[in-house]
């Protein structure tokens, strides 16, 4: 069962890749008689991929005896699946293949990112042994995924409207966003490479309470732990040691990912000889801007109630049962509140100040950044009650 489950996830991953190519083809090929065969195949493959991933989810659930949303790998993969699900629904409303070309790669990145974390099926600690775990986490992830569609729409909008003929603040920030997506790819590549190479370096170090401990790196240490002493032979010595309050290994991973992202980005720029957004612009030149703007708004309008229900209301109910209080100002909770407040501000700005179009697109990008921050940084850096056992 466990084996079957992983295979299904792998199949889904590959199908999403293939579907992306078809959606890419759909943009290039001129529409004939209104029927777009490439896009039809694209959505068909996407749906099969989604079904395969659903299969992964169900088989893993059966194997574990609980819904597979209890650690970082499982949660993030589920988020990726919901992203694809949300895309499928939106596709059938608006029939824009372009959205597939942007959403699927994001979902692929999300799933690849998830796979870098421990993938075993883990039994549940007492705090997680509750049906509310499944209810809360799945609804929250679904809400976040629907909201994330507005990011894809926003990105399309920005790539289309930002003037690429001369450098500006807008071109800079747009490249910045793309650079981050590329860095995620960098993270996946670096992690996989060193894993395949079997790199391991052990350090003795002194933690913030003055106790000696051991830390194992799976990447060459650019930054070492506090007063770290390298114990494995023939391994790279760190360039600097970090103070004790910083988790040096995670920081090291971040630095590697950013370097890899930078290298990839540089490579793309060298090959393309222009900004990445400028290179993507021809893909989106025929897009109906009003429609893209409306898709962005629509996905926030649909996603906001789902998010509220899952990430706040169900979360509060569960917290009341598991932790004796419905709200405890733990970082993860606070960031859910921040996300919620942000999208509330987004809706009000749209309604009253008429922040449509480009401004709305930038807001969608920021909103997605907040969601990702909550998913990645709060879990890994600011540990709280919710911090999953990941590293």
């Amino acid at each position: 069962m466990v084996q079957l489950s992983s295979t299904l996830l792998y199949i889904a991953f590959v199908l999403y890749l293939i579907a992306t190519l078809f959606f890419g083809g759909a943009i290039r090929i001129k529409k004939k008689e209104g029927i777009d065969r490439w896009a039809t195949i694209g959505i068909f493959v996407t749906i099969i991929g989604f079904v395969a991933q659903l299969g992964y989810f169900i088989t893993r659930w059966i194997a574990a005896g609980h819904a597979p949303v209890s650690n970082l790998f499982e949660f993030t993969t589920f988020f990726g699946m919901m992203l694809v699900g949300a895309f499928i629904v939106i596709y059938f409303i608006y029939k824009t293949s372009l959205l597939g070309l942007f959403t699927l790669p994001i979902a692929i990145l999300v799933i690849a990112y998830a796979s870098m974390f421990p993938r075993e099926i883990s039994p549940l600690i007492p705090a997680l042994q509750s049906d509310w775990l499944h209810i809360h986490v799945t609804t929250a992830a679904a809400g976040e995924a629907i909201l994330a569609i507005s990011f894809a729409a926003g990105l399309i909008y920005l790539i289309r409207v930002v003037d690429q003929s001369k450098p500006s603040k807008r071109t800079f920030w747009l490249e910045f966003v793309l650079f981050f997506l590329i860095s995620t790819l960098g993270f996946v590549i670096v992690t996989t490479s060193f894993r395949v190479a079997g790199y391991e370096a052990t350090f003795d170090w002194i933690d913030k309470n003055g106790k000696q401990d051991e830390m194992v790196y799976h990447m060459p240490a650019l930054v070492g732990p506090h007063e770290g002493v390298l114990k494995t032979e023939e391994r790279m010595k760190p360039l600097v040691d970090m103070p004790a309050i910083i988790n040096a290994r995670k920081l090291n991973t971040v630095i590697w990912s950013l370097f890899a992202g930078l290298a990839l980005y540089g490579l793309f720029r060298l090959v393309l000889r222009k900004r990445i957004a400028a290179a993507l612009q021809p893909l989106v030149k025929n897009v109906n801007l009003d429609l893209v703007d409306e898709i962005g708004y629509r996905s926030v309008a649909i996603g906001f109630p789902v998010f509220t229900l899952g990430a706040l209301i169900f979360a509060m109910i569960w917290a009341q049962i598991a932790w004796t209080r419905f709200w405890g100002w733990d970082p993860k909770e606070v960031w859910a509140l921040i996300t919620w407040l942000f999208y509330a501000a987004f809706l009000h700005l749209r309604l009253s100040k008429g922040w449509h179009g480009e401004r709305s697109a930038w807001l969608a990008v920021i909103g997605f950044a907040i969601i990702m921050f909550n998913l990645v940084a709060v879990n890994l850096v600011i540990a709280g009650l919710h911090s999953y056992a990941g590293s």
Binding site: I121, P123, D290, E294, F304, I313, A322, P331, L341, A345
Partner: protein, 538 residues
């Protein structure tokens, strides 16, 4: 009150932009009408004289509301940079902790009060201001909006129609069947169709316009519920440590309930006993390293009869229950939660009274470490007196034995041992792996004979009468949200002026959906589908 009369005869309140009845612009307006709040007369746009007007106008501005939300958002984020005070070890002083752990930034973090941000006065003030803004903002809009939607007439002013975003105008032969066909199609799609002098107003989903106001009411109820927390009696939050075998009054219940801890159980995941699928994870984390269950088996009792000082309470058993994480014991609005535990606290210690030379024992005493006795008689003239007891023993700065707490973490005793040949007794100071004979060499000693331990469980006692209000607030919020977000208010106006037909349509959101619907309606009819006038703006 001053009023404005429109040429259609309707009398509007002053400040009205679009006549409530026919929609004719009463002021200079842009080419495409701004249809928010139907151009009705909002108090905030009309009055600006008294101080009350000014306050009202301030809070009814969505701009102000958004600023409040954004400031709260940013402040909340800063509050997560370092752990809040409630998450740092309770034994350290926060003033030192933040500086020690996080250096200068930590010092400032503490000095500026971010360590306890969410209960700081200014954070609460922010939330309260959002609440005020919410109320005023909603009142400012909902009343005129209601008036306008209620007074709208089927026949609309020509200017109103041609300044709608979706509009068409064309010469169309009058054809009764085609006209009826349109009415039919509109009705089939859920529109309420009203006709007047051969003009049509088709409308649906008006209730979704009230969505935002409903959700704001829900929010207000929720905020009120959260404030009730501070009203005495609404909220009980107590902690109790209870040892296995112990029976205790439950704090916060005014002596009404008692609890007996029968057993505390702590289980871990072990490789041998878990199923195949978990093996890899257990291997990585380590067998026996991951908690599986925290459970206290308890019996709940209720006192019968009044509380009489100094008298043992009469108790009636109510129920047995296993309290686990995620499974609190609930009774009479109280809930008892498993929150903490301590394994193997010392319960009792036993000693043999022994002759040091011959190692012969003259009897064994067992000392209850919570309630030790003063004297233990072993018969035949042997007895032991307990002169002093230090449950959590250490030597203080003067070198005297002392105790840190009443918890028997490290018990020490001063015994006086009596025997037929030592009628005055010998004094011995006995601690774990340590014996001191302060008054010279003794003949007898207290030889350690064993310990008994037991587990201690920590439970939180909670009663929260605000929960149902929060629940209602949350439910209303969700209803309003869904009402406003998943439905939209759509209107189609069809007006015949001489041989021309004017068609206009409006929705408060989801124009794409409206356009598709209109295509379905006007397809294959003599009428011209309204076009999106916003499209040729840019």
């Amino acid at each position: 009150m001053e009023q404005v009369k429109c040429e259609c005869g309707h009398v509007n309140p002053i400040g009205t932009v679009l006549c409530e009845a026919c929609g004719k612009p009463l002021e200079e307006v842009p080419v495409l009408l701004d249809m928010r709040y139907e151009g009705s007369a909002r108090r905030s746009q009309t009055y600006n004289k008294t101080i009350i007007d000014k306050i009202w106008n301030f809070f009814s501005s969505v701009k102000v509301g958004v600023w409040l939300i954004v400031i709260t958002l940013v402040a909340s984020a800063i509050g997560t940079v370092y752990p809040q005070q409630m998450y740092i070890p309770p034994t350290v002083s926060p003033a030192e902790y933040y500086e020690q752990q996080y250096g200068l930034l930590g010092k400032w973090y503490y000095a500026l009060g971010f360590h306890d941000l969410y209960s700081s006065w200014w954070y609460m003030l922010l939330i309260a201001l959002i609440g005020v803004s919410l109320v005023i903002c909603s009142l400012d809009r909902v009343v005129p909006l209601y008036r306008a939607l209620n007074n709208q007439r089927v026949t609309r002013n020509e200017q109103f129609l041609q300044r709608q975003r979706l509009f068409s105008r064309a010469k169309v032969e009058h054809d009764e069947t085609a006209w009826r066909n349109i009415v039919d199609k509109l009705t089939k799609r859920g529109y309420r169709v009203r006709e007047e002098n051969g003009n049509i107003l088709a409308e649906k989903g008006r209730f979704s316009r009230w969505g935002p106001y409903v959700n704001h009411i829900g929010l207000i109820i929720f905020l009120i519920g959260a404030m009730l927390r501070f009203v005495p009696g609404m909220y009980v939050d107590e902690n109790m440590w209870i040892r296995e075998g112990e029976m205790k009054e439950i704090p916060g219940t005014n002596g009404k309930y008692f609890l007996e801890n029968q057993k505390f159980i702590f289980e871990v995941y072990e490789k041998e006993t878990e199923k195949e699928a978990f093996q890899a994870a257990i291997d990585r984390i380590g067998s026996g390293m991951m908690a599986k269950n925290y459970q206290t088996d308890v019996v709940l009792y209720e006192r019968i009869g009044p509380v009489v000082a100094g008298e043992e309470p009469k108790l009636k058993k109510i129920k047995s229950f296993s309290i686990r994480v995620n499974e609190p014991l609930k009774h009479d609005h109280y809930a008892l939660y498993q929150v903490d535990f301590k394994l193997d606290e010392l319960k009792s210690m036993s000693f043999h009274l022994t002759d040091k030379q011959t190692n012969k024992s003259f009897g064994t005493i067992t000392i209850d470490l919570i309630q030790p006795e003063k004297e233990y008689d072993l018969g035949n003239g042997y007895k032991v007196q307990l002169l002093s007891y230090f449950p959590d023993f250490y030597f203080d700065e003067n070198g005297n034995p002392n105790t840190r707490s009443k918890v028997p973490n490290n018990p020490a005793f001063v015994f006086k041992m009596f025997a037929p040949d030592r009628p005055k007794g010998e004094v011995s100071f006995t601690a774990i792996r340590q014996t001191i004979e302060p008054l010279g060499n003794n003949k007898y000693k207290m030889a350690f004979a064993g310990i008994e331990t037991r587990n201690v469980s920590a439970l939180t006692v909670r009663r929260d009468f605000t929960l149902w209000i929060l629940g209602i607030g949350g439910a209303i919020f969700m209803i309003g949200l869904i009402q406003g977000m998943y439905w939209n208010h759509r209107r189609v106006w069809i007006r015949r002026i001489n041989d021309e037909v004017l068609i206009a349509a409006h929705t408060n959101k989801n124009w794409f959906g409206l356009k598709k619907e209109l295509e379905g309606i006007f397809h294959d009819t003599p009428f011209v589908m309204p076009i999106d006038q916003a499209d040729n703006r840019s």
